[in-house]
């Protein structure tokens, strides 16, 4: 918790502008290879569709949102580009953390709040983000970042809505972070 540790820690991170250029090149590669950008929430949708289909085959046909999706991914919803890409993200994130010495099981939170409070907010935030990503047809990666790269109007609007809302509400949740 000493200052030295946090200074050393931040030094080990990549320069943000270099990181941005590299992330842009990864996004460019995704478009060049597959004709589509990056994504994260799409892979979660695949897993949810597969799980529902496995547990109860009838359930999925009674859910038009998932049935449509399962149909458009003939074979298995798990055999999708984003699922393979997200498996890669887990591997890549782990390798980067391992090289930088950041592998550690812990709940990260502001010293002003308890782990329990952090986890409750993380769960609630996850639920809302998951819900919003389906309503908005993609999350920060698939809709905002990838959408902006191809100049999609919707991508820009979703980006502004995500960051604008979070900024507008930051004051009310400040205790969690500062």
């Amino acid at each position: 918790m000493s200052n030295n540790i946090s200074i050393n820690k931040s030094r080990r991170y990549l320069n943000p502008y270099l990181g941005g250029v590299l992330l842009g090149l990864v996004l460019l590669a995704a478009n060049f290879v597959s004709g589509r950008g990056l994504g994260a929430s799409g892979a979660i949708k695949s897993v949810v569709a597969t799980t529902i289909g496995t547990v109860n085959k009838e359930a999925i046909s009674s859910m038009p949102f998932m049935a449509e999706y399962a149909e458009s991914h003939s074979g298995s919803p798990m055999k999708s580009w984003l699922v393979f890409q997200m498996l890669g993200v887990i591997v890549g994130g782990f390798l980067s953390g391992a090289v930088a010495g950041r592998l550690k099981l812990k709940v990260e939170h502001s010293p002003k709040i308890t782990s329990r409070r952090r986890l409750i907010f993380a769960l609630a935030g996850g639920v809302l983000f998951g819900f919003g990503s389906q309503l908005g047809r993609g999350c920060t990666s698939g809709s905002a970042l990838s959408g902006m790269a191809v100049l999609s109007l919707g991508g820009f609007l979703t980006m502004m809505a995500i960051f604008g809302t979070a900024f507008a509400l930051a004051y009310f949740f400040r205790k969690n972070w500062i």
């Binding site: 994260a40 949810v48 529902i52 890549g92 953390g97 990503s133 959408g147 809505a161 900024f167």
Partner: protein
């Protein structure tokens, strides 16, 4: 030439294999930029750490300009590249809900997987929430269907909507980003926090 998969230059399985490698690079860059830490991510909303803004806009610009130049050189056919459709109402409503999730949870879906990959328990719980949220939307889709499909505009490009060329829009984005980077550097000094 590109995009490779839609032009059938590579097979479906090769495309999936490349997806895995692209994902590794994606995860590596996110984690090494600090996106596996919710406190670093949330910093943008309080000014003490603006890594999100810097990485996000640099990445969007790099990819945007890369696509425009590759199209100019004839290396990629942009007609075959997916452009996210615009459903005006849900693009904004979904973004607002995600924004609330962001400030509460401190992650977005992609970054939460990076956080979980290095052992952040809060990221794992966030991912649990994501599954509940996605299932919840699918389960209650009937209530939102109208909102979900409202005000469909097709696949408009923002440059067309503004009535300017893609190149000019790219230039304006670069200038806007540079302006934001200046503000970001100022904010990090003004709202600096020594320990987080």
């Amino acid at each position: 030439m590109g995009p490779l998969a839609p032009n059938e230059i590579i097979s479906e399985n090769t495309n999936f294999l490349l997806a895995f490698f692209i994902g590794i690079a994606f995860g590596w860059v996110l984690e090494s930029s600090g996106f596996s830490s919710s406190r670093k991510l949330a910093g943008i909303f309080y000014g003490y750490d603006t890594v999100v803004l810097k990485v996000f806009f640099t990445a969007a610009l790099t990819a945007m300009l890369g696509l425009l130049f590759m199209s100019l050189f004839g290396w990629i056919d942009l007609d075959l590249v997916y452009i996210n459709p615009t459903y005006l109402t849900s693009a904004i409503a979904g973004g607002v809900v995600m924004g609330v999730g962001f400030i509460m949870g401190g992650f977005c879906p992609g970054t939460s997987f990076c956080g979980a990959a290095i052992g952040k328990i809060d990221a794992m719980v966030f991912i649990g929430g994501l599954f509940i949220g996605v299932y919840g939307f699918a389960f209650t889709y009937g209530w939102w269907e109208k909102l979900y499909l409202a005000r469909y505009l097709g696949e408009p490009k923002i440059s067309d909507k503004l009535g300017i060329s893609d190149g000019l829009f790219g230039l304006l984005m670069i200038l806007a980003a540079l302006g934001m980077f200046v503000v970001a550097e100022w904010a990090e000094k003004t709202f600096a926090r020594e320990e987080y």
